[in-house]
């Protein structure tokens, strides 16, 4: 039966993930070869596409931004002992509120006021959408997983109705709101760099990326550096002990979900204020669900989540690059490839641990652990 493997932190958090990633790529390579493509070319394109060029890197970061938001949304709820499958819906409603704020004020407010207002509106929207399931769980015992799934569907219906019947420009075929005015555009990174005289390709990467970093740091500080975070984790790990300590579980539960919702709500800032500059139907497309994988692969820790988000961002961008460069490499092959990478670097993450532990022990006995294991990491 599986004995837990005691690995030093640098091995567990540094080397093991790299090993898993290597394994994942290797296996994917085999699969790729099986369908008659050159694995080396595919893997290099994947990596090149994601990190090789300024544009590629920017896209990777742009996707990562969204995943950091949804990943953190899952993690905060998780530390509160809740499984939040509702990131999807919370992101939709958050985006909706941000967009409504923009549509209402973009013509009157300057960017300096408009953008913060959108952030607040977005966070508020997500928060509100998460608060209802949270309250139902806290006072009615309705299981959060069910309610959040339901709220995802309800959110999509709400969004569809508003777009088709209320927000759509009359006479326009497309299911989207009017474009936001300049003041509601989150400045793109290329624009800012251009002002500094730095040449940068035009990509969706926008200031929201800083918002995401701030969110990650904020969540980390909140959970491990503040009393509120302490109370939240206590309730998540041991509700009865929390009650004994005089911490009211219900309010912690509400707080956890509302923070989670607010984080998910910020997706709209990256996607709508940052890129689309208008409200449209599927701007979330699965980011909420991806957030679950991101959070768990990142061990529900902000640092881990940022890394995992980068991984997924790279998979998205590198995947797109693949289908650009190799027409035979369809969108669905990309999905499959991503699936395999999640499987091996996420779900099977512990398969290599025992071996690594044995090796490490063996190396330590030879007092040469660091050097060798370090190399093994990149092998």
């Amino acid at each position: 039966m599986s004995r837990p493997v005691e690995l030093p932190r640098w091995l567990e958090l540094g080397v093991l993930p790299l090993l898993n990633l290597a394994l994942a790529l290797a296996v994917s390579g085999v699969v790729v070869a099986a369908i008659g493509l050159d694995p080396r070319q595919v893997i290099t394109l994947l990596v090149q596409g994601a990190f090789g060029s300024a544009a590629g890197l920017s896209y990777t970061l742009y996707y990562a931004t969204t995943f950091v938001f949804t990943g953190l949304a899952v993690a905060v709820a998780f530390h509160g002992g809740l499984f939040n499958i509702g990131g999807e819906g919370q992101a939709m409603v958050g985006g909706l509120c941000a967009a409504l704020a923009a549509l209402a004020c973009d013509r009157v407010l300057p960017a300096g006021l408009m953008l913060p207002l959108m952030v607040v509106a977005g966070a508020f929207g997500g928060m509100a959408w998460a608060a209802v399931p949270a309250a139902l769980q806290a006072w009615r015992g309705s299981h959060i997983v069910i309610t959040t799934i339901m709220f995802n569907f309800i959110a999509s219906a709400l969004l569809a109705w508003l777009l088709v019947n209320v927000l759509r420009e009359p006479g326009s075929m497309s299911v989207e709101s009017r474009g936001f005015a300049e003041s509601a555009h989150m400045p793109g990174v290329h624009e800012l760099l251009a002002r500094l005289g730095i040449e940068w390709p035009s990509t969706p990467l926008n200031l929201s990326v800083l918002l995401a970093v701030a969110a990650a740091v904020g969540v980390w500080l909140f959970l491990w550096r503040t009393r509120a975070g302490y109370a939240l984790r206590a309730v998540g790990h041991a509700p009865q002990a929390a009650h004994y300590a005089g911490i009211a579980p219900r309010w912690q539960l509400m707080r956890a979900m509302m923070i989670a919702g607010a984080l998910a709500g910020c997706v709209g800032i990256n996607e709508l204020a940052g890129v689309q500059h208008r409200l449209l139907l599927d701007f979330v497309v699965g980011a909420g669900f991806t957030g679950i994988a991101v959070s768990l692969i990142g061990r529900n820790h902000p640092v881990g989540i940022v890394l995992a988000a980068l991984l997924f961002g790279a998979l998205y961008q590198g995947g797109a690059e693949l289908s650009f460069e190799i027409p035979a490499f369809s969108r669905d092959m990309v999905t499959t490839l991503q699936g395999f990478i999640v499987l091996f670097s996420g779900a099977m993450a512990m398969v290599l641990a025992p071996t690594l532990a044995r090796l490490h022990g063996w190396w330590r006995r030879r007092g040469a652990a660091a050097g060798v294991a370090g190399e093994a990491g990149h092998g």
Binding site: E6, R227, H237, A241, Y244, A245, G246
Partner: protein, 527 residues
């Protein structure tokens, strides 16, 4: 004489902890072999290895002279080994009956299987005197009953070699006696018994041979005849240990002065409407230790919870620190309780006392995290202060290992208990005047017991009051100034310590011990 069990050079480490180092153990057939040692000495680990629950890193095991490989509980059973685990191995939401059956079902259909097991168990309960309500889900059973269930489980499987890891920790004297009678009978019938306990009296009473462990290694192994209580204690902790009463029983006037806490007519019914507390009134005066005796499950836990503000009663009032709380109105809550300098050491340290996944320093401030000392502006945690205080608590209360960063779950039971006690007794800024303690020394080694008792006395000396709930009469006799006995949620009687004898208290408690736990037909409460 032939050896039933022989363990040679057993080594086992858990991560950083070396739980067993080169342990040798030789157990003769049809004897009772005692194993004693401090908390964390490695007793349970050694037995779990014999039972195949853990694999030894090194060493060999011989059963009946033959070298064997025990790679799991099934293999152990194959060799006729059975075990009563220290931490109950029970499934909460299954019935007691199902828990006994599990893994040893005589039929693949549950219906017939239950029939047959029930019949066997009825017989077993009859001649061991260990009574358990077979159809109750385990979560509804008080600890004492769980312990009896755990023992029945092992006996039911009819082992030739039976390991009992602290089987008496939560039993009443009567139950303990019955259990020992059974064990003697088993020994006579040729069963080999290994008994782990912190109650040296029991060792002396029952064992033929005793092994003393310290920090994972064997330090003494001799026939019971060649040692004594003090000898064992000495070997265990490496110094003289003074248990039992230190001070002269107080003069009756001890409990003078205005009470720090006064409760009147507390009544509390559980979800099923069964009264767990029924017209309970008591007062705590400065400078006294009040003991609450009684078979576990007769309202002691509930009393503690109500007084600590963990749950609100349906009837009664409470006067504490100049404030009055009335049932129905806003009852005391844990935060207020702490503010009013009332501290509470819960019975169940795993569920209530600690957050097991937390680092020790995080668990060591549980309930005090709001104090200005720990949370700065904007609720910023003062982590260094917390770690420092934790280190001090660990120094003060001799918690091992002394590592504030270690996860709470990684400490052995006894050390976890000390950590909780340290936290409650040393509450920063304003140390408590009132201490409610439940089973403070359950599963704690004698060294620690002596130490803990000393601390409680010190608190009394400092003018504090202690409400001590314990199923250990020895403990109550050693500490209390007066003793209240509870029976089915009501106060069955109160005795000044001077009139207390095991038998006197036993008689008062006996009323309950026959039909332990919440009785289906509650007595009419006096109006």
């Amino acid at each position: 004489m032939t050896l039933a069990v022989e363990m040679k050079g057993i080594c086992k480490r858990f991560g950083a902890v070396q739980a067993n180092r080169a342990v040798d153990l030789r157990v003769a057939r049809a004897t009772v072999h005692g194993i004693v040692g401090e908390n964390g000495a490695g007793k349970s680990t050694l037995m779990s290895i014999l039972y195949g629950f853990y694999q030894a890193d090194e060493g060999e095991i011989r059963i009946e002279g033959r070298a064997v490989r025990i790679d799991g509980a099934r293999a152990a059973m194959g060799h006729g080994i059975g075990m009563v685990h220290q931490h109950f191995m029970l499934v909460d939401n299954l019935s007691a009956l199902d828990n006994v059956m599990l893994g040893a079902e005589p039929d693949w259909r549950l219906g017939p299987a239950r029939e047959r097991v029930r019949a066997d168990l009825e017989r077993l309960m009859a001649d061991t005197g260990l009574q358990v309500r077979l159809d109750q889900p385990v979560e509804a059973l008080p600890v004492g009953e769980c312990q009896r269930l755990e023992i029945l489980k092992a006996l039911y499987r009819g082992a030739r070699i039976l390991i009992l890891d602290e089987p008496t920790a939560v039993l009443t004297p009567q139950e303990t006696e019955q259990l020992f009678a059974t064990l003697r009978r088993l020994r006579a019938a040729g069963t080999t018994l290994l008994l782990i306990t912190h109650k040296l009296k029991e060792i002396m009473a029952l064992c033929d041979q005793v092994t003393v462990m310290r920090q994972g290694a064997v330090v003494l192994d001799c026939p019971i005849g060649q040692t004594s209580l003090d000898g064992l204690a000495q070997a265990m902790v490496g110094r003289q240990v003074q248990l039992g009463r230190q001070d002269a029983p107080p003069v009756a006037a001890a409990s003078a002065g205005a009470p720090l806490l006064r409760a009147e007519g507390l009544g509390w019914r559980d979800a099923q409407g069964v009264p767990r507390l029924d017209g309970v009134s008591l007062a705590l005066h400065p400078g006294e230790i009040v003991g609450i005796a009684g078979v576990s499950g007769n309202g002691q836990s509930e009393l503690l919870e109500v007084l600590a503000g963990l749950c609100a009663p349906q009837a009664g009032t409470l006067d504490l620190g100049g404030r009055r709380f009335t049932a129905g109105g806003r009852w005391l809550d844990p935060q207020t309780a702490r503010a009013l300098r009332l501290a509470h050491v819960p019975e169940d340290r795993h569920r209530l006392g600690l957050v097991l996944p937390f680092a020790a320093w995080e668990s060591a401030v549980l309930g005090h995290e709001r104090r200005a000392r720990y949370s700065g502006p904007l609720g910023w945690l003062r982590r260094t202060v917390m770690r420092e205080d934790t280190r001090r608590m660990m120094e003060d209360w001799d918690v091992r290992p002394r590592d504030p960063q270690l996860r709470s779950a990684k400490f052995s039971g006894g050390n976890q208990q000390k950590l909780v006690l340290a936290r409650e007794a040393m509450a920063p800024e304003q140390p408590p005047q009132l201490l409610l303690v439940g089973q403070p020394t359950r599963g704690v080694d004698i060294g620690a017991i002596e130490f803990i008792h000393g601390r409680l006395r010190a608190m009394r000396a400092a003018g504090g009051a202690v409400l001590l709930v314990s199923s250990e009469l020895d403990e109550i006799l050693a500490l209390a100034d007066r003793v209240i006995v509870m029976d089915r949620g009501r106060i069955a009687g109160e005795l000044p310590i001077t009139d207390c004898t095991e038998t006197a208290l036993g008689r008062l408690m006996a009323g309950a011990s026959a039909h332990e736990g919440p009785s289906p037909s509650p007595h009419p409460s006096p109006t």
